[in-house]
Subunit: 121 residues, 2 copies
DNA sequence: TATTTTAAGTATAATAATTATATCTATAAA
DNA sequence: TTTATAGATATAATTATTATACTTAAAATA
């Protein structure tokens, strides 16, 4: 990312994208894709450690419920962010990891971490 | 932001932050602060145009409800991201804008937009 | 042989978050 | 006197999330 872009530059840049290619904002659909109470956290956890099993994710994200974790992972898989690898053993083993598309969200988390370092006490 | 950080570098970097300063992750609290169906979108809209009046925000974010917009703005104000300027006229006029703290989320939206440009069709 | 254990879920009911709809405020204009 | 206005608030209905119990299938244990 260009280091020296100002708030005003960005405002103008994104505004022009939105105003010229109307209804084609590159940000809004991404925000919507990551909507829901757990999705962003799940992707983030997989970003810092991957692959992880269902049970490991559940432990790290505690107090998440089975239902929410399973549903969120399913939807993230549909959106192509998460890969699910199932090993047919008993008891079952399933490993989740980020796809390349998912790993490409890294700069987003990096930007968030920079903000957090500056402002979270 | 450093341009050439790899996924592995980031993984290691953030992992070490989390593992050494346990319970002090710079990302998770930010994600939680921006949780809720509309908050991230509201901040984004104020990022590309600001100040905006309540009614303008409502129009842009349509189908948001009065309740959600009012509550989200209130909470964002409490978190120090949004500034509320009230003009005592009739009919009332209230303008919302980002604080410096809010504007500092710009790199996050820039990173999201880069991802969106690459992956959103 | 019958029971227990295990990980990754699913099913159902209860609670919390979000939405829909109606209403309030005060003044100026019709 | 009535209507219009922007920025909300109040309440009830709907949707998302949570809590709890249950399912699966084979291997290990009693």
């Amino acid at each position: 990312m260009k280091q020296t872009m100002s708030y005003e530059e960005f405002q103008e840049k994104v505004s022009s994208i939105i105003l010229t290619e109307s209804g084609n904002c590159p940000v809004t659909p991404v925000i919507q894709m990551l909507q829901g109470k757990w999705k962003l956290q799940i992707v983030y956890e997989l970003c810092i450690r991957s692959p992880m099993r269902f049970g490991e994710l559940k432990k790290i994200l505690k107090p998440i419920t089975n239902t929410m974790l399973a549903n969120a992972l399913k939807e993230l898989e549909v959106d192509g962010l998460v890969h699910r690898e199932q090993y047919n053993e008993i008891p079952p083993r399933v490993e989740y990891s980020l796809t390349e598309k998912g790993k490409d969200l890294l700069p987003v988390f990096y930007a968030i971490s920079q903000w957090g370092i500056k402002y979270v006490p």
